[in-house]
């Protein structure tokens, strides 16, 4: 102890014993401390990467150019966009981002940025990739720290960033588009409110059935089985699994059935069919086919594949679900039971209704309800069921007589994409990031707590990623961006045709497949300008007996068995109202073109424009399968429409596949003349 003290004091003496020596030592210390900052700078991470970059490009053929680009900008780089709040120094280490010739380099941080429609100088980096822009070390820039908690966004969710500004679907972001569709289609927004920066809210696109009259439609046994596991009934079901216990499912089914009020006209006794005792199953199957039920409804085949459309529910086991008397009434007129259903009101005759009902009624699965044995419901069970219905928020999606739709049933997700990490309770072992949290919540909601109400959905991994992407787009930044930067989606259209024709079009659910003035589906052609396009006689014949215009099309327009007066009503309306302002449909004659012009058109059709690659005019020679068959186009379309279509197809129907040929006037007129001679014949049509 004493000796070490002595040693210390002698050291002190040596260093500071004399004023000159002390001055020298202090000067050295000051000099040393002054050198710390330059040394730190010299050995910094980013310099290391820049040196690596120089040695990487040194041996390349284009080294001179790359070095020149680099020496224009060595040192710390910064993209500063005050209007967007962007201060990004990422380009300090990611030196080659803008170098197109580095396409073959795959090592980071020297990769070229993939080609995108925006430039780095426009938006910087963190707008899309997140992370800490001003940081100059990898750790601080890429990962979350105590001070900065925005980590890099994993590449698999990067499309979410596009969604901050772009509200409309983009060609290059299929994952984001799918996620947004799923949010609306799987009814997420029934429970979770999602407000968009423009003040509107995402609307659900599914239409969960009303349960107010469920007893007319289904049995309690089916309701019980469905509640226990919707996927056991239909593999395409969008209803999630609430993981209900047996008594809970029993009580909810008891409540729903007892709460159901009968609805006048939604059941129908079988009409007596004198000719046939039992309906013929093959006749039922062919009526199902002829009515194009499969355009909207899917059925699981023996191989387990689901075949058919997804507009209506899957019908694989529909016989287990619906009561025969309800099914008959539904087929006769679905709008009695559900006024806003997407199902058209087919004008089926009574024997047809019986045939279809018998065919569908046979679609059963013996195992589905065989183990369901429910005793008569007690009043306690019904009361408990009512409590459970309120607790699980069933009325958020379904209309249930006497139960109010709950408000703000689940947390609002308007800014979920920016949810601070400090506010999230992660599961043990889970990666601490917002995307990991969101996707885990979607994958297994109840893993965060058995008492949570959110049900279990069945999604494929790609669907979970898509949903996560759509939710990650809902950031603070999306809400704070200047409105001028956002690219809004098309505003939703509430278009409703007027008068009796409008009622008929609603009754036939035209909007389930066709779009008119921005409202409706995309399964069938847009009819906004149908009145300028087609001839009245053809339109009426088509509605009476819809044939197919495109040989390779599977989903087709069904035959609704319309009366002549209904057809006249609708066709009058279409011809009068759905006209383009661009031209007069009667401005060109439908026949009487000079033979020379027709012949010239034929030459152009087959040689210069080679239309036969996609269209058929002569069924013996032409084979084109892409566009509609043109054998009777002269009696189907107006000459003015053909002419204007040839001049600019996309102007007539946005998104048309037929290319714009920049056709001169003479060629367009000659082709129109030739096509107008293709009147077809009823015999030829009948043969097909």
């Amino acid at each position: 102890m004493q000796s070490s003290k002595n040693a210390l004091s002698s050291l002190w003496q040596t260093l500071f014993g004399h004023p000159v020596r002390a001055f020298g030592v202090v000067s050295l210390l000051v000099l040393f401390s002054l050198a710390i900052a330059p040394a730190k700078n010299h050995f910094s991470e980013w310099r290391h990467y820049q040196k690596q970059y120089l040695s990487l490009i040194g041996n390349r053929g284009d080294a001179k150019t790359l070095q020149l680009h680099f020496h224009d900008h060595d040192g710390i780089q910064q993209i500063w966009l005050p209007g967007l709040g962007v201060v990004d120094r990422c380009t300090t280490c990611h030196v080659g981002l803008k170098e197109a010739s580095l396409a073959d380099v795959s090592t980071q941080p020297f990769r070229r940025h993939p080609v995108i429609p925006h430039t780095l100088d426009q938006f910087g980096c963190v707008m899309c990739h997140r992370g800490q822009g001003p940081a100059t070390t990898v750790e601080e820039a890429h990962r979350s720290t105590a001070a900065w908690e925005q980590p890099l966004l994993p590449a698999r969710y990067v499309q979410s960033s596009c969604g901050q500004c772009h509200r409309a679907p983009l060609t290059g972001t299929p994952q984001l588009n799918l996620g947004r569709n799923l949010l609306a289609r799987y009814g997420c927004v029934h429970c979770h409110t999602i407000k968009l920066p423009d003040g509107s809210a995402i609307k659900p696109t599914d239409n969960p059935p009303s349960l107010s009259h469920i007893a007319d439609k289904s049995t309690r046994e089916w309701v019980y089985a469905w509640l226990k596991d919707p996927r056991a009934y239909a593999v395409t079901s969008t209803m999630p699994n609430f993981k209900l216990s047996d008594p809970d499912a029993r009580d909810i089914s008891a409540f729903l059935i007892s709460n159901s009020a009968p609805l006048a006209g939604d059941t129908a006794a079988a009409t007596k069919d004198k000719d046939q005792k039992a309906p013929d199953p093959t006749a039922g199957a062919s009526l199902y086919g002829e009515s194009f039920c499969a355009s909207c409804h899917a059925v699981q085949n023996a191989a387990g594949n689901v075949v058919g459309g997804d507009i209506g529910p899957e019908l694989t086991r529909v016989g287990n679900k619906v009561k025969p008397e309800w099914l008959r009434a539904w087929l006769r007129n679905p709008r009695v039971y559900d006024p806003i259903t997407a199902m058209p009101h087919y004008r089926l005759t009574d024997p047809q209704v019986n045939l279809l009902a018998a065919f569908l009624g046979n679609k059963t699965d013996a195992d589905l309800l065989s183990n369901v044995h429910l005793d008569a419901a007690t009043s306690e069970q019904i009361a408990h069921g009512k409590l459970l219905v309120a607790e699980y928020g069933c009325a958020s999606c379904h209309e249930i007589g006497g139960i109010k739709k709950p408000d703000n049933f689940a947390p609002e997700l308007t800014r979920i994409g920016s949810k601070p990490l400090t506010q999230i309770i992660f599961l043990p072992g889970m990666e601490h990031s917002t995307p990991a949290y969101i996707s885990a919540k979607i994958r297994q909601p109840r893993s965060f707590g058995a008492a949570l109400k959110m049900p279990q959905y069945t999604f494929a991994p790609a669907q979970i990623d898509a949903l996560t992407t759509a939710l990650l787009a809902l950031t603070d930044r999306a809400h704070e961006l200047p409105m001028a930067l956002t690219v809004p989606a098309k505003p939703p259209s509430n278009y409703q045709p007027a008068g009796r024709a409008g009622q008929l079009m609603t009754d036939l659910a035209c909007f389930s497949c066709h779009a008119i003035n921005g409202r409706g589906g995309d399964l069938a052609p847009d009819l906004t300008w149908e009145g300028s396009s087609v001839q009245r006689v053809w339109l009426q014949a088509f509605m009476k007996n819809p044939g197919t215009l495109r040989p390779a099309l599977i989903r087709r327009m069904p035959k609704f068995n319309l009366s002549d007066s209904d057809i006249t009503e609708i066709s009058d309306y279409i011809m009068a109202v759905y006209q383009t302002p661009a031209f007069d449909r009667d401005s060109m004659p439908s026949s009487g073109y000079p033979p020379a012009q027709v012949e010239q058109g034929k030459q152009l059709f087959y040689s210069k424009y080679a239309c036969q690659s996609c269209h058929i005019v002569d069924t013996k020679v032409d084979k084109g399968y892409v566009g509609p068959t043109l054998t009777q186009v002269g009696s189907r379309l107006t000459a003015a429409w053909i002419y204007h279509w040839l001049k600019d197809p996309q102007a007539m129907r946005p998104g048309a596949v037929e290319p714009n040929r920049n056709m001169n006037d003479e060629d367009a007129r000659a082709l129109t003349a030739f096509l107008m001679t293709q009147k077809g014949s009823s015999k030829q049509e009948a043969k097909k």
Binding site: N59, R60, G61, D62, S101, A103, D104, V105, S106, R111, P114, V115, I116, P117, P154, A155, R156, V158, Q159, T171, G172, P174, Q175, A460, P461, A462, D465, A552, I554, S607, K608, Y609, A610, Q612, S613, C614, K623, G624, Y625, V626, Q650, V657, P659, N660, R661, N662
Partner: protein, 282 residues
């Protein structure tokens, strides 16, 4: 515009490290030092050291040894579904990859251990597993961050010494190629893709002059970007080819045509090498 993926195959531990492609390549690189004056005994030591280092590096990537104990052994590994998909870079493929293990008679083997591998950046969930009662194992594949073709492998231990390997290819699309893929689906595939799907009947067989499928690298790789731009914009006659190919220059934008070409270049088989790649080889 070389889109080849760096071949950094993750190898299984049971393969002799000295025989892996990985170590061969690294060893080869050391065998030819820049100076060329290294004495013989030195490079032999170096070779031995490199073997140890590389094999350590190879096994390091695998992480802890698999704890799964196979209960069955097959003789063949076949792809059941999920190969030849196109997906976006860094994202999960839409369909899982399903492989099946069969024995000599072609019967499915239950409980065989299958391990998946691929270039850097590719993820498998799960990366290995035992086959189910139908002899199959399904995994979700996440593609790497660089656009290109990804050669994936699946291994299963056979009764004999040599493990059975199956090669599977998936294609990762960058943003530009993704746009091209969508455009191809809408405008081109109807004629250029001979395969029909449930939603799309191919028009290929109906055409008097057959179009070139976009994977046909032997033909398309010889054409420059300018040639392709010209034929897409102005139609077949622009290059003295068939008028059955219409012009899309008034329908598609310049950016869209560039995206389409980027996509065509990416899926070309054999792969397309642009002149730019010579820089890296020098």
């Amino acid at each position: 515009m070389n889109r080849a993926i760096p071949d950094q195959n993750v190898r299984t531990q049971r393969l002799k490290p000295g025989l892996t492609q990985c170590s061969y390549r690294s060893a080869g690189a050391l065998r030819h030092p820049k100076s060329g004056a290294t004495p013989f005994r030195h490079w032999r030591t170096l070779f031995a050291v490199s073997l140890v280092v590389v094999s350590a590096a190879c096994t390091q990537k695998l992480g802890p040894a698999s704890v799964l104990k196979p209960t069955g052994f097959g003789a063949a590994l076949v792809e059941s579904s999920g190969g030849k998909q196109t997906g976006a870079t860094g994202m999960v493929l839409a369909q899982p990859l399903v492989v099946q293990v069969n024995d000599e008679q072609g019967t499915a083997v239950t409980g065989a251990l299958v391990e998946f591998g691929g270039p850097a950046g590719v993820g498998f969930d799960p990366a290995s597993g035992l086959t189910d009662s139908s002899g199959q194992l399904s995994t979700n594949v996440t593609l790497g961050g660089v656009a290109g073709r990804y050669q994936l492998t699946a291994h299963t231990a056979a009764k004999t010494q040599k493990p059975v390997e199956l090669k599977i290819e998936e294609i990762a699309l960058g943003f530009q190629e993704q746009v091209g893929y969508q455009l191809d689906n809408k405008y081109c595939a109807r004629c250029h893709n001979p395969e029909s799907t449930a939603e799309r009947v191919s028009n290929y067989d109906n055409l008097a002059v057959k179009p070139h499928p976009f994977t046909e690298g032997d033909t398309l790789n010889k054409m420059t970007d300018a040639d392709l731009t010209s034929i897409i914009s102005h139609g077949g006659p622009a290059l003295n080819k068939s008028a059955l190919m219409p012009p899309y220059g008034y329908t598609l934008s310049k950016i869209e045509i560039e995206a389409l070409i980027a996509y065509i270049r990416l899926i070309s088989d054999p792969p397309y090498h642009a002149s730019g790649t010579v820089y890296a080889q020098k």
